[in-house]
């Protein structure tokens, strides 16, 4: 929270001053007191509610004062506003190594689940597209607001073949269309579990993406212990976070690493709030003023009700 006119916050000094004045007034011998030997009995009868009734109205008054002074300083809250017409491409690796079960239930299944959740989380106005690839990009969905279509496509992915990250990124860039300075923001989320094996060099595509103003967020999925059995042979398929980090760095995005499905979910959550929304400051003086007025009303009501006078 920030303030447009923070100097007015000096008015908060009024609260300790008011409390000090109240304390002094209560200590001063009052003019209209009645000597009463049974005062102890009255105090016992009034009991705790009496103490509450002494404290509540001034407390409410001080809170209302705080609210009104804060409203005067015009506070602003940073809120996440959904970006209009923003689009994001999910580029998902479906190479054979995605069958590895080091990420429960399997790398691909975890990726599918996380992607589905990501689609549910991001703002409705965000356009999402999909590129699934193995030896070459084989499924390309242009950015669309039709979530159901993307979701069914994600669910139908199956793992087999090699890894052609460069080609996949290039087709994702293509799917985003021609871009210039005025185009709405776009981003690519690349989920992969290994280094590029065939096709174009991903670094080169990353540079292209940078010129197009499309950051690539990369997620390295899997652990070093991941294995797949292929034709009776057990192959070790560790992820290649360095290569992915390079892609992210070249394109102006960020690299993440997920070693299990929870971490993957967390990564997608971060991405969802990063890509679909924009931070914006909104003035919230009215809320503070309303709260202050409500508290003022509460202080006046309780004081009139319990002590027969305004605080």
């Amino acid at each position: 929270m920030s303030f447009q006119a923070p100097l007015f916050l000096l008015g908060l000094i009024a609260i300790p001053l008011a409390l000090a004045a109240l304390w002094r007034a209560r200590r001063r011998p009052a003019r209209y007191v009645v000597r009463f030997p049974a005062a102890a009995t009255v105090a016992a009868v009034v009991g705790r509610s009496g103490r509450v009734r002494r404290i509540v109205p001034p407390a409410l008054l001080c809170l209302s004062l705080a609210g009104l002074v804060t409203a005067l300083a015009r506070p602003e809250a940073t809120v996440a506003v959904p970006v209009e017409k923003a689009s994001v491409m999910l580029v998902t690796d479906t190479s054979g190594s995605m069958e590895a079960t080091d990420v429960s239930p399997s790398r691909l299944a975890a990726a599918q689940a996380a992607a589905t959740r990501f689609l549910k989380r991001v703002p409705k106005s965000l356009q999402t597209g999909l590129v699934a690839y193995a030896d070459a990009p084989y499924t390309v969905l242009r950015p669309t607001q039709d979530r159901a279509q993307v979701e069914t496509t994600v669910q139908s992915l199956a793992a087999s073949g090699g890894t052609a990250t460069g080609d996949a990124l290039a087709s994702a860039l293509q799917a985003l269309g021609t871009r210039d300075k005025k185009s709405p923001p776009a981003a690519i989320v690349l989920l992969s579990d290994g280094a590029s094996q065939t096709g174009r060099d991903p670094a080169e595509v990353a540079r292209e993406a940078r010129t197009a103003g499309v950051p690539i967020y990369t997620v390295a999925l899997g652990t070093d212990a991941g294995t797949v059995s292929q034709g009776g042979q057990v192959l070790n398929v560790p992820p290649d976070p360095e290569a992915l980090a390079q892609i992210a760095q070249l394109s102006g995005g960020r690299a993440f690493r997920a070693e299990d499905s929870d971490a993957l979910d967390a990564v997608y959550e971060t991405l969802g709030s990063r890509i679909g929304t924009r931070k914006e400051k909104r003035e919230i003086s009215a809320g503070f003023a309303a709260a202050g007025l409500l508290l003022l009303g509460g202080a006046a009501f309780t004081s009139l009700r319990w002590r027969g006078r305004l605080p």
Binding site: R35, F36, P37, A44, G50
Partner: protein, 319 residues
């Protein structure tokens, strides 16, 4: 002299003449008097007739019994002595309160004077101990008109100023009386018995409103223990001075009340019927507790209100 004090008012001599300290069972003075004492000694009432032993006064030999039995017999008598009365008068700031005819302290003063006049009769002696002021006033037991004058002077000196908190002063005075007296006598305590109630009531308040109806919820204050200790040797007359306004709270809207002794301020909304009802119940429970403490101490309890004729009320309980 306290503001608003009007003195005890006229004390009708005829009425005082008709009274006597009949409640005192045993005397202990040095002089022969009218009250029976412990042990053996000179008196008019015969206690027993027994065989003569060496050292017995031959003047007490009973001729008839000796002749009948052939063995010398002596008569023992119940000793009859004068009475020593101790007056313990509460002069704490809470006594300077009264909404009816006079202040509670005025009534206490009058009660003290009347008891003093009755006590010095027939060679009796009266002593005074006040409590509640920073410097307690004390008169050693003496008899005669001069003692009555001293008593009057000490009693009219007024009550403690507001803001002085007597810490168990009544209990301390009662314990002091216990130490000062030699033989059994009469102890008259004049007080409102409000001492040490703050802690007891706070303990009761913690239990909620249910605690007020039950006198057992009040802990036994120190003065009750001291009084019970006195009651084992002496005859105790406890004169409780009350004001009608202390029993009920009037409906006068918001009140700022201050305790005369502690100066603690309490804000209360007396227009709440619930509050007034609970206050009346709490005061009733307090009075009940005082009553049961006095009964447990074996003391005779007299309640005297500031409204009405206190002398008649006292007389009714003394006769």
């Amino acid at each position: 002299m306290t503001a608003g004090s009007q003195g005890p008012g006229e004390i009708q001599g005829a009425l005082v003449e008709a009274l006597d300290l009949v409640i005192a069972r045993r005397g202990s003075g040095a002089l022969p008097g009218e009250h029976r004492a412990n042990g053996r000694g000179t008196g008019t009432e015969i206690q027993q007739i027994r065989p003569y032993q060496y050292g017995d006064d031959v003047r007490w030999i009973d001729p008839a019994a000796s002749a009948r039995t052939g063995v010398p017999h002596v008569r023992d008598h119940v000793p009859e002595r004068t009475l020593t009365t101790w007056l313990v008068v509460d002069v704490s700031a809470s006594m300077a309160f009264g909404t009816a005819d006079r202040l509670k302290s005025d009534v206490a003063e009058g009660v003290g004077l009347v008891i003093g006049r009755l006590a010095v009769r027939r060679a009796g002696r009266v002593g005074l101990l006040t409590c509640g002021t920073p410097e307690p006033r004390r008169l050693p037991p003496r008899g005669g008109r001069t003692q009555l004058l001293a008593l009057r002077r000490a009693l009219t000196a007024g009550v403690a100023p507001d803001g002085y908190v007597p810490q168990d002063a009544l209990a301390a005075s009662l314990r002091q009386v216990g130490r000062l007296t030699r033989g059994p006598g009469l102890v008259v305590v004049v007080s409102d018995f409000r001492e040490g109630e703050t802690g007891a009531l706070a303990a009761g308040a913690d239990d909620g409103a249910a605690g007020f109806g039950d006198p057992a919820a009040h802990r036994r204050p120190p003065w009750a223990r001291a009084l019970a200790a006195l009651g084992t040797r002496h005859d105790v007359l406890a004169v409780e001075v009350v004001d009608p306004r202390e029993a009920t709270l009037p409906d006068v809207g918001h009140l700022v009340l201050v305790d005369p002794e502690t100066g603690a301020r309490v804000e209360a909304d007396s227009s709440s019927a619930e509050l007034r009802r609970r206050f009346a119940a709490a005061e009733l429970a307090r009075r009940d507790a005082v009553k049961s403490h006095l009964r447990a101490a074996g003391a005779r309890h007299v309640e005297i209100s500031t409204d009405g004729d206190w002398l008649r009320a006292l007389g009714r309980s003394l006769r």
